[in-house]
């Protein structure tokens, strides 16, 4: 397999095996390989999470069958139950069975949580500071923006939750360097540039790769790749509205994290469908909803 490196592997990448050298944080491909290797270990480490991801691809899957499998992964089940009982789903404290929790959350969200579990993302100590809050804000904002943009709300929610999963993976694999990198950057654009400079790919691209590797529906990683190309390349009108939704949700999350930062031109980005007032409204409403989700996810 070692020679079957992607022909378009990032510039400057080196085949670690051919090189025979040690871990080289300066060579992005090494880090990506490491990330992917970790994902490869997941089936053995979290077989239930892996199976859940596979099962949720089945159009005929039922909540009851999923729940039966979930029972073997207590931490993942607990996280699902907490999330289903969060205020966000309107059923606070009323979801008492795992099948109903799966029903309430929907398969896409179950799959997203399974992926997060499979990737080893747990509580705060294994993810960058504010990671879950930002992810939850992005997810909630994406779901809120889904309707005016006419995209599927549950998918938008899950993409919002998972768009940063690459960041968490980088944080785990290349912890010290990535912490330095985070400290040194002030906004999304500079962070993505720094990531590309160090790893040859941004964390969004890593997220897309993870989703592909776990066989999420192809349009989901494809959406993340469109997001990754922005602002160098603007999403097209046709078929890339989900990416617009996600970018706007990211803008909302960024505004929540840094109210003093420069505002983004959301009207231009959304083709006039979303204005600054809409964003301001979301900035007011989203944090409370997101906080509940964070509590549910991190336990």
């Amino acid at each position: 397999m070692s020679v079957w490196r992607d022909a378009t592997t990032l510039p400057g990448s080196v085949d670690p095996v051919a090189d025979g050298g040690p871990w080289d944080a300066g060579r992005g491909v090494v880090v990506l390989e490491e990330l992917l290797a970790r994902l490869d270990q997941v089936p053995a480490q979290r077989p239930v999470a892996h199976q859940i991801v596979r099962m949720t691809r089945d159009d005929d899957m039922s909540a009851r069958r999923l729940a039966a499998v979930l029972g073997a992964d207590a931490p993942l089940t607990a996280r699902l139950m907490r999330l289903a009982n969060s205020a966000y789903y309107g059923l606070s404290g009323r979801v008492r069975t795992v099948p109903f929790a799966v029903t309430v959350l929907g398969f896409t969200t179950v799959r997203s949580l399974a992926l997060a579990a499979a990737a080893g993302l747990g509580a705060h100590d294994t993810v960058p500071p504010g990671f879950w809050h930002r992810s939850a804000c992005t997810a909630v904002a994406a779901a809120e923006l889904a309707r005016p943009l006419k995209v599927n709300a549950p998918d938008a929610f899950c993409l919002g939750l998972l768009v940063g999963i690459g960041q968490a993976l980088l944080h785990r694999v290349d912890h010290d360097a990535y912490v330095e990198l985070l400290d040194a950057t002030t906004d999304r654009v500079s962070l993505l540039e720094a990531e590309r400079a160090r790893y040859g790919a941004s964390h969004v691209s890593v997220s897309a790769t993870a989703l592909s590797a776990w066989a999420f529906p192809p349009d989901m990683p494809a959406t993340l790749r469109v997001v990754d190309r922005w602002p160098a390349s603007r999403p097209t009108e046709n078929g890339e509205t989900a990416a617009v939704c996600l970018l706007l949700a990211g803008a909302v999350a960024e505004r929540i994290a840094d109210p003093t930062g420069p505002p983004q031109d959301v009207r231009h980005l959304s083709g006039g469908r979303i204005g600054p007032d809409d964003v301001a409204s979301l900035v007011r409403r989203v944090p409370a909803m997101a906080a509940d989700l964070v509590r549910a996810v991190t336990g």
Partner: protein, 719 residues
């Protein structure tokens, strides 16, 4: 993972065949330096413009290039990405490649689907789904019925304008879980349960309260149906119909069906329901140490029933008017509500009857305390239409016992006790005991026997002659004078009890809708006898047959038909019949009575007022009533035998003469009475002085014997 399950040996060839037949291009790639094609199916051979033999061993890189990303051939992970297949003829095919590592072997299964197929299929599906959703949303948008569509859990992805109008809120604020804020907190669990059923694949519905933006409250019938989005899991679609007006109307109807409009108390239907529920409760008697009587309370729940009937209520209605009667009922209801304990239920059975259902009554003593209290508040004076009224009531008390199968049984016992209280003089209460129950049981048996007696002819008719008291009108004393009349009197010889007094069985018939049958029977028998007399006795036959009517029959529209049919059946002329009606029966409703009497008179039937003098006849009414005879009550005739002046008898006779009516004296037993009556100018009389009640044949003999005795005037004048 199911993918590791090995197919049975005998399936391998079938699998190979399936792979060969597949429309998708399939290549098996062997690991090596470089990885090379081990096998390909015909679909792949077509794309590569190679046959399967020449393709074997060709490096994969020679026929396939792919875009950026991780290596295509990964040892443990499936990879998917776009690529280009290059054919031996130089053709290039954009494909979507999926590379699956074959577990346990250094080999991959690579499928290649032409990109336009994959994209086109996906796009076509997406466009079809989008178009369907667009149509669905357009339809719901125009739908006047409020409609909701969920995405996950309780979160709504879509609501239509009608739903927004229902709540008064903009669409945007109702999405997600926004709509749940409007659900009445008490109903939230019901809504969630309804949604849970829909999410689990079952149609469900519930009626719940929704608050509106203007502070109002609407009752909404939420109907949810399951929906399923492949890959996303279950959701629901539903309607939220505003049923406020309908339900409020239904609730009003339901309330009205269970409550008395005048007093607002639960009515008879509600009473039975309440009582059934009370009787179904477990008893607390044992814990309270109560000592049940053998006949009540033993083994039953601690429930007692107070059955209250206002005494003489009809008098209030008749004298002060129905409005006054209604005011009194309302006041009594108010007092009863104030007198009972928490948890006791006051109901109105109908008319002037009230029933109180009391709980936690462990013995008769406790029931009597309650009864006394209730009776006390009911009998306090009250002012109705500026008139001070002293109401009184009779009350029956019954405690639930093992013998009470249901509400009906317990109420029956309370009713029995109430009648017992009435019989003992009213304005008191009585507790249902074995004696009163026996009396009631006996009455029921007698009623059943009476029904049989009427149908089987056990009820017979006796006849008492009515004779002339005055002189012969034309002065021919030698000519035989026909008997002016006979009064038909019903008699019942019970097979085991012997003779039953007419007052007893007539009252029984009146109280249990048998009076019409009884009267029809008597009329038929008497008319038949009258026809026989007319045939047997010729000119000596009684000129007239008197038959008693019950007060209840004055309002019976079938009366005239019953009477005329009996006459026709036996060929008796209408002028040969006189119907006797008591004074009190007529005065109970003079207007209705007059109509009935007029119709009888028009048919040729004469009418007598019976027992005249004991009632309260209005002379103003009397002079307009179409009657022919006044029968002087026997009590006034009796005075004449004891040396009394007979003032009332004289007044009645005088009144009859003044009104052009004939007077008939009843109960004449002594010659002195007959003589005095004759002096007073009374024309007719009846009584034991001449004859007791006789059978038809006996009366025939009596008439013949009377005729055989010479001087009629002497025969009829014992003096």
């Amino acid at each position: 993972m199911s993918g590791t399950d090995a197919p049975p040996e005998d399936c391998r060839e079938a699998l190979q065949h399936a792979a060969a037949m597949s429309d998708s291009a399939l290549l098996l790639v062997r690991d090596g330096e470089p990885p090379s094609i081990a096998w390909l199916n015909p679909a792949a051979a077509d794309l590569l413009a190679r046959d399967t033999t020449s393709a074997a061993g060709v490096p994969l890189a020679a026929v396939l290039t792919w875009s950026a990303g991780a290596p295509l051939l990964h040892q443990v992970r499936t990879q998917r990405r776009p690529g280009v297949l290059t054919g031996a003829d130089g053709s290039a095919h954009a494909v979507e490649i999926t590379a699956h590592p074959v577990p346990g072997q250094a080999m991959w299964a690579v499928t290649a689907v032409p990109e336009h197929d994959a994209v086109g299929r996906g796009r076509a599906h997406a466009e079809a789904a989008e178009a369907a959703e667009h149509r669905f949303l357009a339809l719901t948008e125009q739908n006047p019925v409020p409609t909701v569509l969920s995405d996950v859990g309780m979160r709504l992805a879509h609501v239509n304008d009608a739903f927004a109008r229902l709540t008064g809120l903009p669409v945007g604020s109702l999405l997600g879980t926004g709509w749940l804020r409007l659900v009445d907190p008490d109903d939230l669990d019901a809504v969630i349960d309804c949604a849970r059923q829909a999410l689990e694949g079952t149609h469900a519905d519930v009626v719940v309260g929704f608050s509106t933006v203007d502070g109002g409250r609407r009752l909404v019938h939420l109907r949810l149906a399951p929906a399923h989005t492949p890959g996303h899991g279950p959701s629901f679609v539903g309607t939220a119909e505003d049923v406020t007006e309908r339900l409020v109307f239904e609730q009003q109807l339901a309330y009205q069906a269970r409550h008395d409009a005048l007093t607002g108390l639960p009515n008879r239907a509600a009473l039975f329901e309440q009582l059934q529920q009370s009787l179904a409760r477990p008893t607390a008697m044992a814990g309270n140490g109560g000592t049940p009587t053998p006949t009540a309370g033993a083994g039953g729940p601690d429930v007692a029933v107070l059955f209250l009937d206002l005494d003489n209520f009809k008098t209030i209605n008749d004298s002060l008017g129905h409005d006054a009667g209604d005011s009194m009922l309302v006041e009594v209801a108010r007092r009863l509500r104030g007198a009972v304990r928490d948890g006791d239920v006051v109901t109105r059975m109908g008319g002037d009857e009230f029933v109180v259902v009391c709980h936690g009554v462990v013995d008769d003593a406790e029931a009597e305390v309650l009864a006394r209290r209730v009776l006390d508040v009911c009998t306090r004076p009250l002012t109705v239409n500026d008139v001070l009224v002293h109401p009184s009531a009779s009350m029956g008390v019954a405690r639930a016992g093992a013998g009470h199968g249901g509400a009906q049984d317990l109420l029956r016992d309370a009713d029995i006790a109430m009648y017992d209280a009435k019989a003992r003089g009213k304005n008191r209460f009585a507790v249902c005991d074995e004696r009163s129950r026996d009396v009631a049981r006996d009455t029921l048996q007698l009623l059943a026997d009476l029904r049989v007696a009427i149908d089987s002819g056990q009820v017979t008719v006796a006849y008492q002659p009515v004779v002339h008291l005055g002189p012969v009108p034309d002065g021919d004393e030698s000519a035989p004078r026909p008997l002016p009349a006979v009064e038909a009197l019903a008699r019942w010889e019970h097979p085991t009890r012997g003779p039953v007094p007419p007052t007893e069985f007539v009252a029984l018939a009146e109280g249990h809708q048998l009076i019409t049958s009884l009267t029809a029977h008597v009329l038929d028998v008497a008319c038949a006898q009258m026809a026989r007399w007319r045939e047997d006795l010729g000119p000596l036959a009684p000129a007239r047959l008197n038959v008693n009517l019950s007060a209840l029959q004055l309002g019976d529209p079938r009366l005239l038909g019953t009477v005329t049919q009996a006459l026709e059946r036996h060929g008796v002329p209408a002028t040969g019949l006189c119907l006797e009606i008591t004074e009190s029966a007529i005065m109970a409703d003079p207007v209705a009575s007059r109509d009935t009497l007029v119709s009888l008179r028009r048919a040729g039937i004469s009418v007598a007022i019976d027992d005249f003098g004991v009632g309260y006849s209005s002379l103003a009414y009397l002079q307009h009533l179409p009657v022919d005879h006044l029968k002087i009550d026997r009590s006034f005739v009796a005075e004449l035998a004891t040396g009394g002046e007979g003032v009332v008898a004289a007044a009645v006779i005088s009144l009859a003469r003044a009104l052009g009516l004939s007077a008939v004296a009843e109960g004449v037993e002594e010659p002195v009475q007959a003589a005095r009556l004759r002096q007073l100018g009374c024309e007719l009389g009846q009584g034991w002085l001449w004859a007791r009640a006789l059978t038809g044949d006996e009366l025939g003999d009596w008439v013949r014997a009377r005729s055989d005795r010479a001087e009629p005037a002497t025969a009829e004048d014992p003096s």
